[in-house]
Each structure stands twice: as C-alpha cells, then as structure tokens.
Symmetry: C2
Subunit: 252 residues, 2 copies
DNA sequence: GTAGATTATAGTAATTTATACAATAACAAA
DNA sequence: TTTGTTATTGTATAAATTACTATAATCTAC
C-alpha cells in the first residue's frame, strides 16, 4: 500500500520527516551479453568520474524526470544510458528486468541510490566506443569481468554474477540462445552458443534432434549456409522461431 | 553508471534540474500466498485512504529513510509494512523479489512512486487483521482476486498476475511447495499443494516416487501421521529438506 | 472381531525420452 | 577421384515417465 501522508510514529527518529525526505535516486544498469571471438562477453565501461574513478562498471545511469510527462520508463532510461555511454546504435535482441539492488550502502555517496538492473543480449556487435561520460566501453570476457583482475564499481560484481546465472539458466528452458546468433544461423552455430556459455560439449546429432523437435524454436529458411570457409557439408540456415519458452529443456 | 552531477544537456526540457528533482518515492508490495480451506489464496488489504479508497491492494508501503543509518533495506520495509498492515506475527516461510514496477503513471498522485514487489509464501495462517492504515486484511482466493469481481488498486492486478505465474512456475523446478505445508506434512499433503495451485490431478504413486527420488526435497521424520480423521493407512511424516532447487522437475 | 471402505505405499509393464555412437550426405581441396 | 570435414540421419541401448496393479495399514459399521 502506498500513501503520501507519513504522519505515523517513527520510533527510531525524533525529527518528523516530510515526504520529500523519503525520496531516493533511482538508477538503471544493464548487463549486456554477447558472444565475440567464441567467448561469452559482457559490455563494460571504464568510469571517468568519481566515485569509483577508473573502475569498470555496467552501463547505466539515473532515471531522468525531465523526459516525458512524468519522467522516463525505467527500461527506456536503461536503453538511453546504454546508447549514450557506449555509442551502441543497433536495437537489442533481448532485454528483461533482472532485479533491483537497493541496499542502503551500495552507493558510497551522500544520496542513497537504488538500481533497477536489466539483463540484455546483443548479437555480435561492432566494438562500441565510449560516449558522453564513459571514457571507454568494451566487451570483456565474463570470466575476466568477475575475476580479481578487474575492479568493478558499486555492487556491479554482484549484479553481474546474478546476470550470468540468469543467462545460464535461461538457455535451458527458453529460446534466448537464438539471440546470441546472427539473424540467419545454422544449428551448429546455435549449439556453439550453448557450448560456450555452459563451457561444455554437446553431441551434434542429439542437439540437432532436440532443437528440431522443439516447436517454435527455429524456422527453416530453405537455404544452405556457405561452407567454403568451414568445410564439410553445408548446413541448413534457420532463423529464430516465435516461441520464447521450450516445452522440454535443453540439457547440459 | 551512476553519477551525482547532472550537468549534461536535456533536449526535452529547458529548465535545469537539480539532483533533487530526479528523486522518486520507492514503495514495496508483497504478494503473500497461502493455501487455506483447500484454495490457493493471496493476502489483500482494503484501502482506507485515497487514492483508490475502498479498493483492494497488496500489503506494502514506502521505504522509510528514518530507519537505520541510511534508510531501510527494501526487503525489511516490505516485511515491516506487512506486519503493520495485517498484524501478521509469524515469520514468513519464503520471500523473494518479484520485480520492480516503475511506469510513470502507475500511481495517480503528484509524486511518482515506483514499487519493488515481492513474492512470499506463508503456511496456513490465522486470519490476519487490519493494522495501522488498513481497514481490513484477509486472504482472498487468487482466482477471485484477479477477476472482475474485485477492484485492485494501482497496478496490483498486474503485479499479482506476475506473482501467480511465478508461483506456478517455481513449483515445477524448486522445492517451494513445502512452504505451503505445515512444518510436518505427508506426501499427500504436498501433492495437494501441486494439485491446488496447478488445478490438476496428479497420480499419487508416481508423485510419491518422484518426490522421494529428489535428493533434499523432503526429510523422513520416522513417524506417522494420525489417520483417525482422514481414514486409510497412516502416512509417514516429513519435513522440508535442505535443497531449494530440484534436479529434475515435477511435471503437471 | 470381521468385512468393507479408504488412503498410503510399493511394484510392474508399457511407453516415451535421452544417450551414445554409427552411418550416410554434401560439400571443399588436393 | 580421393580424402578430409562438417551436417544430418539412423539405431541400439539406457533411463525416465506413465498408467496401472498389488499390497499395507488404518478406520467405520456391523
């Protein structure tokens, strides 16, 4: 229940607080994943301003109240900041809310800031370049990003860890793997998405049968891929199907 | 990325905004489920103040900044409001974040309010009673709660619909069903949780085997339930196990 | 006490699904 | 044309699921 009168008793405080005192800043952050050079990677920016100057961070920023009648939609703010900070031009293949991170001490500055985090997937993109207030934006292998090698700002290591878990879990019971592929792809390319993100090997024949028996997962384009680079029998080309959830999961 | 200087250009506004202008109110809401009288139910309160006076709503309220050093943890705020509004004394069996609802027009009042929604499960509780600012709190069958019979405040029908989906999905691959049971329960009681929430019938023998072959799902207490009320062979008593996720899902 | 009803639990055969691996197909390059 | 490579199909086995049967342990009615 939400109310604008805060006239009730405040046992741990003697000063009466106005409604204004309960307001907080709301930011968004995106963990945007891709597969580049055969490696599962996440988009990070290098911070150019304090706090956490020169630390790496997920792209994001404050929801602005001067856009639209009553401020931005959170998802809209996340996409705007992503484009401002990374110069990313294309639309994302996938975006969903990951969760909200709101611990009182997650931001060291005076003002309390909570963040609505998003989980996104882009197809292999041109290497983005730093925009407005990011001195650098680049894809980083996820293993490196959560390792000790890299200093991540705020609670972004926690957010990123959660996002990686989400990605690995969603591969199993949803069709999001197709979002890591180009618009036209072969079943082998789709299989390699699973192999890279799960760090495992899958049997090509069994994977083929499983994917083809999942209605709405992929659509046969009736054409073959060019095999002059890869060698071997040319593979059929497919595009992403219409279903978002799999009726029976892909197993590791 | 989060920053406290908002010195960048604002294309859709001429007035420069201070950081204070970007702050918003943050509320929490809980969809708290239980099984009562053999029916899947959710805890609702009847609002006693505008807006949405006399509408039904999920328990919740603003995160307070005058509790703790830098204000409350969101989850802490959700539990505090739940207890204030419904008089609920016991601890919950389960609570997780559902998602954040932040559309600019979700609250009709002047101040923009976003809400972090939670999904919770309580064992069959004594009927709660209205507390501080709730004129009435009661469990309502979920089908009735999302039907046209009931007027729900704000976007609480959307939140509740999402929460019900989450409950139905989580039964399949997690052990949360045990949270709908009393501390000691029989396998039949556990099966009835699935049957009630999924509105389906499950084969008792097959369910038994499935549950017993899922490591960490339930723990045998070595005692039998009293069968004088139910008739038939007395069932073994179990308590919730230590695992939270099932390796192989319970199917409908 | 016994018969019948009721519920729990165990067992079993048929079916379906998954897995491991072999066979064939379609190309490129030598 | 032969060889190498990858894609795709097939197949035998293993495992899991499903539908159903059998047995066990209690209660109630007589």
């Amino acid at each position: 229940m939400e109310r604008s009168n805060s006239s009730d008793n405040h046992p741990q405080s003697t000063e009466p607080l106005t409604i204004e005192n309960h307001k907080v800043l709301v930011a968004t952050d995106i963990a945007l994943f891709t597969i580049k050079d055969g490696i599962f990677q996440v988009l990070l920016i290098k911070r150019g301003v304090p706090p956490f100057l020169d630390f790496w961070a997920l792209p994001g920023g404050l929801i602005r109240m001067d856009i639209g009648e009553r401020g931005e939609e959170p998802e809209e703010a996340a996409l705007r900041e992503l484009k401002e900070e990374t110069g990313l031009a294309k639309d994302l293949g996938y975006l969903e809310q990951l969760g909200t991170y709101g611990s009182p001490n997650r931001d060291p500055r005076e003002q309390r800031v909570i963040s609505i985090a998003y989980f996104g997937i882009g197809p292999t993109l041109e290497d983005p370049e730093g925009g407005s207030d990011a001195s650098h934006a680049t894809f980083v292998p996820v293993e490196k990003a959560i390792s000790d090698q890299l200093d991540l700002a705020f609670d972004h290591r926690l957010i990123l860890t959660d996002a990686i878990k989400r990605a690995r879990a969603k591969l199993e019971y949803s069709t999001i793997a197709t979002q890591f592929c180009t618009q036209e792809f072969t079943i082998s390319e789709l299989r390699r998405v699973y192999e890279i993100i799960w760090d495992t090997e899958l049997d090509p024949g069994n994977f083929q049968k499983k994917v083809l028996s999942s209605p709405g997962f992929i659509m046969d384009l009736g054409r073959n891929a060019d095999s002059s680079q890869t060698g071997g029998r040319p593979a059929k080309l497919y595009s992403a199907g219409t279903e978002t959830l799999l009726n029976s999961p892909i197993r590791r």
